[in-house]
Amino acid sequence: MNQFVPKREPHASRSGVFAVVPAFNEASTIGDVVRNTLRSVERVVVIDDASTDGTATVALSAGAEVVRHPINLGQGAAIQTGITHSLAEGARYIVTLDADGQHEPDQINLMMESMAAAHADVALGSRFKGEAINIGRLRRVVLKLAVLFTRLTTGLDVSDSHNGFRMFSAAAARQLQIRQNRMAHASEILEEISRKRVSFVEVPVTVRYTDYSHAKGQSNLDSVNILLDLIMSWLRK
């Protein structure tokens, strides 16, 4: 099920499709991300994680609705806030993507079609089945190690474990509770998918690295923080 690549089918309906975009100080890119994403979804929800550069204003002007955290909580917390808001507003499908413009919103339709064709509740974007443009060599190695770690700890046969481009059905979004506030949420989502036996499909997507996304994105050293966060969460079990 997780290797499925569908044939192109008629354009999927945007109705009930919400995009959740966590953003922290992304005023320079969020406008374009919102406008491009609105071509493929009904509503875009930007979670402004206490930005100080006017991200919320730019997102609002571009047509998004904005939920603003009073303090910076982290990307995982922002995504969960966006999912909770979208479900309350009647979303049927929720797609998450990054605010730095490294994902291509045109591929949302491909995700929907892949989910429908595979009868899956979650679509996970994979840059290693698709394209990772301008990815650094060290970043590629770190991400591959993360995939290996995820396979060992969850048993899921995935090719990309830390891709922020995902889609959930409303039922799956209700099941998956993100408790990791920061970057460990990506591993947590996969753990939840494995533990709750949620059906998923991997979809080849493009991730475009730019100087901006390299500067704004995770550093390779963040993988140590992610590992520590995961160890702490295992200790609580």
Binding site: L60, I71, M232, L235, R236
Partner: protein, 129 residues
């Protein structure tokens, strides 16, 4: 006399461990094991020397020191878990606050109204949907 004082102090560790059961069974078990070992060593001081020799440690006092370090490490982890729990509660509070005040740009309500006339609304103001 000192035996009773140390036993009382270590017993507090046992009470703490029982309270930690819900947060982490692994930590609870570790604290109970280390604390009970400490109580045994307080009353059977020769035992610590014998066990130290078995484990390749020179003196019983050194072994007790190592166990103390281990207890401290476990307690630090336990405190980190408590902080994590508080952080989760804090996150829920912030989330509830944020979700009560989503921002939207209201669509123009009448023909001829321009985009400039639209305004940002918050559900908390009673103006949103």
């Amino acid at each position: 006399m000192i035996e009773w004082i140390l036993t009382a102090l270590l017993s507090v560790g046992l009470v703490f461990a029982v309270r930690e059961w819900k947060r982490s069974r692994i930590l609870c078990t570790a604290i109970v094991t280390l604390t009970l070992t400490g109580i045994v060593f307080v009353w059977e001081q020769q035992a610590s020397t014998r066990i130290a020799h078995m484990l390749g440690v020179g003196r019983g006092a050194d072994l007790v020191l190592y166990i103390y370090a281990a207890i401290s490490f476990v307690l630090i982890i336990s405190l980190l878990l408590r902080i994590k729990q508080l952080q989760e509660q804090f996150t829920e509070l912030c989330r509830a606050f944020s979700l009560a005040h989503p921002l939207r740009v209201e669509a123009p309500r009448e023909a001829g109204q321009t985009n400039e006339a639209s305004k940002v609304s918050s559900d908390a103001d009673g103006e949103g949907k």
